[in-house]
């Protein structure tokens, strides 16, 4: 008897002999009273006839409207409690016994504020031939399609764009499965013969800040927090941010979620606590997106995105260091070690991994073997610089920074540990003293002590803020344990140490890549550690911008609801004259309706925070459907402590649903020049995003030299330029196409103001 699973599992000849013996030695046929089988069948059938209702032939509509059911059913429909977007699912020539299946999209259709990082779930009312269902998403979006029982789960490959109305079409594939020729009475597989359409709109994006956020400790506040599900059941075996701001989290084995199997039933569950762990990709809201490493723990995200490393137990007492992509596909097995690893591997750039094997440092290349420096590390700290050139190692012989390029090393102070590199290449570390902790920063080869703890306090778990201006760490009082740990924030120069968060028992903080969230661990009521996420709010996202945007929101909401008084009150004389002069329409033309708006860009145009240029996109609805949009560039000027609309310029109206569109434009200072970040709503063909298709022009219409890069995961084109003070024009041509080859409906232009 051939069994590939057994062949792969047992390669040792001694084991194979036992396996062969087992395969040849079937268990004895148990004694069986034939009357028992018949008797049980009769009992079951009697019970089944009492409890099971024979299926009646059904019409095309998935509900039977008998008089008894009609009234409540109609009432429910009238009340709008149930919105079933009708999808009959059947086959041509199907027998009367085959099923009809409807999709229940009531939870999704026409929903707004849909999270951008969550799977799209569409439950069916009955079994569906899953292979025959085809899904299309507009704007063009690549995705994977999974099933949990009768629920279709659509997992976009990248987070959806904010502020965007998506259309999901579910329809049958062109090829219809053939019926079972050997048994024509067997019900044929069900398919969806008529397309069903679901619309939803994603959540509004945070407005891109005019001033990049700063995480200096005086300015950051702790917002609300939330606990990631299930994490308390795991001793901390690792959670980490991906570069795109999702989470890789170690969870107890067998947890529910997309792509795993639901518990069969209440009676069939509860076989005891799970002995293993899995690694999941999760949203920042703690929603499992997909299992990416069954049986894994200690994930480590590659700095370039797309890949991660994970430890998985192998045969016997071995563990494999695997590299996987974020879809969960195994890319390679980088190493195998004896025993159970107690820490994640450390990425060194995009193609090397450092790990500890039996107490010894090892470095493995994903594409080529590497010579490993002979360092005994045991449980010492290990961290790689963002550029992949430097590796800080706490070896048993002392702490060093290895320069992996020319193999030079720099010795650090004795006892240096807790290494963490900033995005700018600064290394922070601590040295534990008898009566406290010293905090050091190594910059350009020079080490300086920036702070020391007082009263015997112990500092650990260093983590740089994304902009490298401050550090988060865990602080414990003398004699305390993790139960009494608090998070602290301290500026890069050691000034202004501040407690971050209201509670104790926090440790292991990790800033998200965007700096809007902090992942940390917290003791829970069961005595374990759970993963939590807290929001943070840098105060450098200045009040002026918020105030200006608040005025814009009042102005726009008044226009949407037709409130002339409020809209007029948000303008100064110049603004009112602009609208009265026909520069743009204050209210929607007859037969249409302003449906919604959102800010596309915010620019500081005055020398102080007294004048802003806010680009807003306004959506026009006709006959209840959004059909087009246009943009206005609103000038806001500070007058009597209020920002008022002082002027307006309007774009042409653009039709919706015809190729990708720009959803935001952000200008960042990136000395010695600037970065213009242009975000799209669709997955684009990367080779269509070039300096030819996205341009910056000066006031004379001349092209400015620019370099364009594209991040497919974020739908983000970044234009790197060096602009002097003045006004420029961003031009996105129709050469930009989505993954289906559909170009922008028309050229997109937006002003760029460099005010300093």
């Amino acid at each position: 008897m051939e069994d590939k699973e057994l062949d792969e599992l047992f390669t040792d000849p001694a084991h194979q002999e036992v396996v062969d013996l087992l395969k040849a030695s079937r268990p004895a046929t148990p004694p069986l009273d034939p009357n028992f089988r018949l008797h049980l069948r009769a009992q079951l059938m009697a019970e089944a006839r009492k409890t099971l209702t024979p299926r009646a032939a059904r019409s095309w509509f998935p509900f039977t409207f008998t008089p008894r059911l009609l009234a409540p059913a109609m009432a429910a429909v009238a009340a709008g409690f149930i919105v079933v977007l009708g999808i009959e699912v059947y086959l041509a020539n199907q027998p009367a016994t085959s099923s009809l299946v409807a999709m229940d999209v009531s939870k999704l259709n026409n929903k707004t504020n849909v999270a951008t990082g969550e799977p799209i779930e569409i439950p069916f009312s009955g079994p569906v031939d899953q292979a025959a269902v085809e899904v299309q998403i507009e704007p063009a979006t690549s995705f994977t399609q999974q099933w949990i029982g009768q629920k279709l789960v659509i997992v976009p490959d990248h987070p959806l764009a904010p502020n965007t109305t998506y259309t999901v079409r579910v329809k049958p594939k062109a090829t219809v499965p053939t019926p079972n020729a050997s048994n024509p009475n067997t019900p044929k597989p069900a398919v969806a013969p008529t397309p069903a359409v679901v619309h939803f709109t994603t959540v509004r994006a945070p407005v891109p800040p005019v001033v990049p956020p700063s995480f200096r400790s005086a300015g950051v506040t702790y917002g609300f927090d939330s606990r990631l599900g299930d994490s308390a059941r795991v001793n901390i075996l690792g959670a980490v941010w991906t570069p795109t701001g999702q989470l890789l989290v170690t969870r107890p084995g067998g947890q529910p979620g997309p792509s795993t199997l639901p518990t069969a039933s209440a009676t069939a569950s509860g076989s005891g606590p799970a002995a293993s762990t899995d690694v999941w990709l999760m949203s920042t809201m703690g929603t499992p997106i997909r299992m990416v490493a069954p049986g894994g723990n200690f994930p480590a995200a590659a700095p370039t995105g797309g890949l991660f490393s994970v430890w998985r137990q192998a045969e016997g007492s071995h563990a494999n260091l695997e590299v996987r992509d974020l879809q969960g596909n195994l890319i390679s097995t980088a190493a195998t070690v004896e025993g159970v690893p107690d820490r994640p591997a450390v990425w060194i750039g995009a193609d090397r991994l450092a790990y500890v094997d039996g107490g010894t440092l090892r470095i493995v290349g994903l594409h080529a073997p590497l010579e490993t420096p002979a360092l005994k590390v045991d449980h010492g700290s290990l961290a790689a610089s963002p550029n992949g050139q430097l590796l800080a190692v706490q070896s048993t012989g002392g702490s060093v920074v290895l320069d992996l390029t020319p193999a030079a090393t720099q010795r650090l102070h004795d006892g240096a540990t807790g290494f963490n590199w900033s995005a700018k290449g600064d290394l922070a570390f601590t040295i534990q003293r008898e009566n406290g902790t010293d905090l050091y920063v190594l910059t350009d080869g020079k080490t300086s002590k920036i702070a020391s703890s007082a009263n015997g306090q112990t500092w650990s778990d260093l983590n740089w803020a994304p902009d490298a201006t401050s550090l988060l760490f865990a602080a414990r009082p003398a004699g305390g344990n993790s139960m009494s740990s608090v998070l602290m924030l301290i500026n890069r120069d050691g000034s202004n140490p501040t407690q971050f968060g209201p509670q104790r028992e926090y440790s292991a903080p990790q800033w998200s890549p965007a700096g809007d969230l902090v992942l940390f661990t917290r003791r829970d009521e069961a005595g374990g550690n759970a993963f939590w996420v807290a929001t943070s709010a840098p105060s450098a996202n200045d009040a002026a911008e918020k105030q200006a945007l608040a005025e814009v929101d009042k102005f726009m909401q008044a226009r949407i609801r037709g409130d002339s008084g409020t809209a007029q009150d948000e303008m100064d004389n110049a603004g009112r004259a602009a609208y009265q002069g026909g520069t743009s329409s204050l209210f929607s033309p007859a037969g249409t309706q302003f449906d919604r708006y959102y800010p596309v860009t915010v620019q500081l145009t005055g020398s102080n925070a007294n004048k802003f240029l806010v680009g807003v996109r306004i959506f026009i609805k006709k006959s209840g459907v959004e059909t087009s949009f246009f943009e206005e560039q609103l000038s806001l000027v500070l007058q009597d402590q209020r920002y008022l609309v002082d002027g307006v310029k309007a774009s042409e109206t653009m039709a919706l649903g015809h190729g990708p569109t720009v959803v935001s434009v952000q200008i960042l200072q990136a000395p010695p020049g600037q970065q213009v970040r242009v975000r799209f709503d669709a997955d684009l063909k990367p080779d269509s995003v070039t300096s030819t298709t996205i341009q910056v022009k000066d006031a004379n219409g001349q092209l400015v030299a620019a370099r364009v890069s594209f991040d497919a995961d974020k739908h983000l084109a970044t234009v790197t330029v060096r602009l002097q003070k003045g006004t420029y024009q961003l031009v996105v041509t129709t050469g930009v196409t989505d993954i289906n080859g559909m170009p922008l409906a028309q050229e997109y232009d937006a002003p760029l103001v460099i005010s300093r």
Partner: protein, 186 residues
């Protein structure tokens, strides 16, 4: 049409159609009874467990959701729970060996045809003495020819954990079975 698809259709029909449920019973009774017997080693108890399994299946079949695994996986799960319930009711009568405990002596007494027949009994007797989870994994793999992924579903474990159970089970048999029982030895 793939067998798995036919099975799904049959299960869906069985949610409303007593005859379809009867067909499911006919299809799965032998393996569920065999599995139950392998766990309790007593005909009367095996009958009780099997009866309980199918009545629970009937009661809950409307809540059953196809998850990509054979319907039998669900029945095996119910069987495991029913066996566990039985032993809980019997105040922990089921003997659980620790990893380090020794298997009973299985020294060969004869070396002829009887011995060859006896191999099967002995090796399965040895499996009976394995720790509970190992035993279940071994019976499902070598006795019921289930896929590792299915076994993982039934036991509520990861595939990796099932592989580990199988590996440990085989390794333990290798260590503790007398060499005369292994293939290639008369």
């Amino acid at each position: 049409m793939p067998e798995r698809f036919e099975e799904r259709e049959l299960v869906e029909r069985a949610k409303l159609d007593p005859d379809a449920f009867g067909a499911l019973y006919d299809r799965y009774f032998p393996q569920i009874y065999r599995f139950a017997y392998s766990r309790v080693r007593d005909q009367s108890l095996a009958e009780d467990v099997t009866s309980e399994v199918f009545f629970k299946a009937l009661k809950n079949i409307k809540r059953y959701t196809y998850s990509g695994h054979p319907f039998s996986s669900w029945l095996y799960q119910i069987t495991l729970n029913a066996v566990a319930d039985h032993y809980r009711g019997a105040a922990g009568k089921e003997v659980e060996l620790e990893e380090g405990a020794s298997l009973p002596s299985t020294e060969p007494t004869v070396v002829d045809e009887v011995v060859r027949r006896d191999r099967s009994r002995r090796v399965w007797s040895a499996i009976d003495q394995l720790p509970k989870q190992q035993r279940a994994a071994m019976v499902l793999k070598f006795g019921e020819d289930r896929k590792i992924e299915e076994i993982a579903q039934i036991l509520g474990k990861s595939s990796g954990a099932v592989k580990l159970l199988l590996h440990r089970g085989v390794e333990r048999l290798r260590r503790e079975l007398p060499p005369e029982l292994e293939l290639g030895t008369p």
